[in-house]
């Protein structure tokens, strides 16, 4: 069975791009439009990997990651963070929240999939 990836991003463009690249690589992709929604979909879909944006309404990426890590069922779930630039402070905050790794935007499909493979079981 192919792995399920949850992408959490408020931008439709970004969700579509992630979807395109990941489904072409054979992953099953589910979406959420912000952190709150992400937690709902997370519990319903039990994804194998999560890719999340940072800047989102309602619940941002940091809060989302912390909430995921607070749930014993998802303590070891790989979570990748999307950041626009190589901003060390953002990475640090994401790491503190419990992020596994990061993907720097803009990404191409190849780079994205290689990062996903890096954290995927």
């Amino acid at each position: 069975m192919s792995m399920t990836i949850l992408t959490v991003d408020d931008s439709r463009t970004m969700r579509d791009m992630l979807n395109l690249a990941l489904s072409e690589a054979g992953y099953r992709v589910v979406h959420a439009i912000d952190g709150e929604h992400g937690l709902e979909v997370l519990r319903a879909e039990k994804p194998d990997i999560v890719i999340t944006d940072i800047n989102m309404p309602r619940l941002d990426g940091y809060g989302f990651i912390e909430a995921v890590r607070d749930d014993p069922g998802f303590r070891n779930l790989p979570i990748l963070v999307l950041t626009t630039e190589n901003a060390p402070d953002k990475k640090e905050r994401a790491r503190k929240a419990g992020a596994t790794g990061w993907i720097v935007k803009p990404f191409n499909a190849e780079k994205l999939v290689s990062v996903v493979r890096r954290v995927a079981a």
Binding site: R12, P57, A87, D89, R95
Partner: protein, 697 residues
């Protein structure tokens, strides 16, 4: 279509939404009606545009969005104050951002000088107080580097490969990282021998499932450079001890090999690594529960779908045909002379109900709120205000009012023109306003509302009003009217709509774009709408647009006049009655009025007005329909009889034939014949120029 191309379209659509969000937010900030979430939303919108633009390599857009975002970030964390001048810069930046999006889409390129000027302005804004931003970045910037700095020396070419010692800290597991995966990635770089150091592993009673007890020593035979090796540890560099040293050169190679043989090769102890994962499986809920949740999640995800407009239009057309067909069916049933109690009548009623619901459903799909259109106008106001040196506030009302998509799209140009006019011609300069005892800020109001089955959009200003003397002089000068013409105020105001009329002494840059009010009028008319103007000297002017809700179907009263079948829009009808002799009064030679509820309304013989007959009919023989025009003026239409009340499909007369005075459109009846739909406002207008009607005491 290429999937990337589809996403690109999505990106541009989303940009429009985000640009709107940006503008709305900034405007709220400008007038101090914003909360902290407003700034965040604006920041996110610009950030999203930047993200998407990066993916499509719109470099100019990315660079500007970045500078803009930095300034907004300052606003967000309080480094920058939302002063009027700062907000002005922000708003202009939002406009530029919109233009850059358009440039990316292939429209007009943005002027470099303008881009640079604003970029500098934003840059200064972001830097102003003390620039703590860079400091913060620096203090973080050093931290992750500490570990690798010591090993920076070996610039020597990678001889054999690398010896890596890797000791994860508990945090590595806590963040969902996994040594096995890192080792697997390393294995892709070359031959690898891995030794697991389990010496730190405690006895079971002291074992902490969240702890980190294992370490690995890896000999990697590879030509890969150090960066490549370290790259595999990129995510965990702060959560482990890592040493990467060049593998001993050739002479020592054997020794290294010999060393390696003493270890059990590549024994990654899988159960051990999996240990921390165990609770996850235990926490999984039973499958049934999971299913229920899935359904719920999907319901939230699919809140909207996007459909090709053509499909919706096709559907709308089909429903139009369905309505006609149903009318034909009902005609056939009547002609079949079925017994009154026949079930066919009930079924027909049910079918009519369904058709109506389908049609309303489709109209609702096609409807969209005027909000985006109104938002676009805020920018127009700003631009014109900047260019003319006027101070203007735009107030909008009824943004949630929905109009049909076709109407929506065609409204942009006329509205833009009216708004430009309102600021450029309507409002005075701040000095003039001050002299007239008005506040310096002029006000332009843009309102939308549903009124008796139509959309009414008003553009009004609190400026000087129409200078009727000047308008008249201009019309005379342009030979549009005779020099001695006696015109009422309304008639003078309406001169503005004549082709070839332009009041501005010098055609200004702003309003004079080769489009006159006559073009505005004809484009509104082509939508089945009307435009009217009212003005009070010194107080301002109002341009009022009245548009049909839908362009497809209307509820009409089918009437007969001189053997012709006509349709009167139901929304205009106030009442129908059979006139009594005492209520009909002659006025002059060939005019009559009807006393209705204490008021005289002009009585119009539709048959004569439409040219169906020349001798007036006896008012007492027919039926009178009291109708009301947009302005609220009423008149009484005399018809021979009322046939039916039903939905009719609107077929444009202009596209199929030509515009006819007094006729709004045509329709096809159940028997296949064409019937004309009356333009009630034209009828009301005929009587409008008559002397005012006195109320009966």
């Amino acid at each position: 279509m290429d999937p990337m191309e589809t996403i690109r379209q999505t990106f541009f659509q989303e940009c429009e939404e985000q640009l709107n969000e940006t503008e709305t937010g900034l405007l709220a900030l400008e007038i101090g009606e914003a909360d902290s979430e407003t700034v965040n939303a604006v920041f996110r919108a610009v950030h999203s545009i930047k993200g998407g633009a990066g993916a499509f390599k719109y470099e100019r857009l990315v660079r500007f969005a970045h500078v803009f975002e930095t300034a907004l970030d300052g606003l967000r964390n309080g480094r920058l104050e939302a002063s009027p001048s700062a907000m002005k810069t922000m708003l202009r930046s939002a406009d530029l951002l919109a233009d850059l999006v358009r440039e990316a889409r292939g429209d007009a390129a943005v002027d470099d000088a303008r881009l640079e000027a604003l970029r500098d302005e934003l840059g200064r804004l972001a830097e102003e107080p003390g620039e703590p931003a860079t400091q913060a970045a620096d203090s973080f910037g050093f931290q992750p580097l500490t570990l690798s700095l010591g090993d920076l020396a070996p610039e020597t070419p990678p001889s054999q490969g690398w010896r890596i010692v890797f000791r994860p800290a508990p945090d590595l597991y806590r963040r969902g990282n996994e040594p096995a995966r890192i080792l697997r990635e390393l294995a892709e770089l070359g031959d690898m021998r891995v030794t697991c150091d389990a010496s730190a592993l405690p006895l079971l009673d002291a074992f902490d499932p969240g702890g980190a007890y294992l370490a690995w020593s890896i000999d990697l035979t590879s030509a890969a450079p150090r960066e490549k090796v370290e790259d595999a540890f990129d995510f965990v560099i702060d959560d482990c001890e890592l040493r990467v040293a060049p593998l001993a050169p050739a002479p020592d190679a054997e020794a290294a090999n010999a060393d390696g043989l003493e270890f059990t090769p590549l024994s990654i102890d899988l159960p051990m690594i999996d240990a921390p994962t165990a609770p996850q499986a235990a926490a999984s809920p039973p499958p049934t529960e999971r299913k229920v949740e899935t359904v719920r999640a999907e319901a939230t995800v699919s809140q909207t779908i996007r459909v090709d407009l053509e499909r919706v239009d096709r559907l709308a057309n089909l429903v139009g045909e369905l309505v006609i067909n149903q009318a034909m069916l009902s005609q056939s049933i009547v002609e079949a002379a079925l017994p009154r109690a026949s079930k066919a009548f009930d079924d027909l009623t049910a079918l009519e109900q369904l058709t109506r619901e389908i049609q309303e459903g489709i109209m609702a799909i096609r409807a969209q709120p005027v909000k985006p259109l109104f938002q676009r106008m805020t920018r127009i106001v700003r631009e014109v205000a900047d260019a003319t040196g006027k101070m203007v506030r735009l107030k909008t009302e009824g943004e949630a009012t929905e109009v049909d998509r076709t109407v929506f799209e065609k409204l942009a140009d006329p509205l833009t023109h009216l708004i430009r006019n309102a600021v450029d011609h309507g409002l005075e300069t701040p000095d003039e306003r001050a002299a007239a005892g008005k506040p310096e800020h002029g006000e332009v109001r843009l309102t939308a509302a549903h009124r008796s089955g139509r959309i009414v959009i008003d553009v009004s200003d609190d400026g000087k009003g129409i200078d009727r003397a000047r308008v008249k002089a201009k019309a005379v000068e342009k030979d549009l009217i005779a020099a001695d013409a006696q015109l009422s105020n309304t008639e003078i105001d309406n001169l503005l709509f004549l082709p070839g009329f332009s009041t501005a002494a010098a055609v200004s840059d702003i309003s004079g774009r080769g489009v006159g009010m006559d073009v505005v009028k004809s484009s509104i008319q082509s939508l089945g709408g009307r435009i009217s103007v009212s003005s009070r000297p010194g107080l301002g002017s109002t341009f009022s647009l009245s548009l049909p809700l839908t362009l497809a179907v209307l509820d009409g009263m089918v009437v007969k006049v001189a053997e012709q079948t006509l349709v009167a829009p139901l929304t205009t009808i106030v009442e129908t009655l059979r006139p009594k002799a005492r209520d009909v009064h002659r006025l002059g030679v060939d005019q009559r009025v009807l006393a209705d509820r204490g008021v005289f309304v002009p009585l119009i013989d539709v048959g004569i007005e439409m040219g169906f007959r020349t001798t007036p009919a006896d008012p007492l023989s027919g039926v009178v329909i009291i109708v009301e025009g947009d302005g609220g003026a009423r008149c009484a239409l005399m018809v021979d009889s009322i046939l039916d009340q039903r939905q009719v499909v609107i077929k444009s007369l202009e596209t199929n034939y030509q515009q006819v005075q007094g006729v709004a459109a045509a329709t096809i009846l159940g028997d296949g014949r064409v019937a004309l739909i009356l333009d009630i406002d034209a009828f009301v207008a005929v009587t409008h120029s008559q002397p005012p009607l006195a109320a009966v005491s």
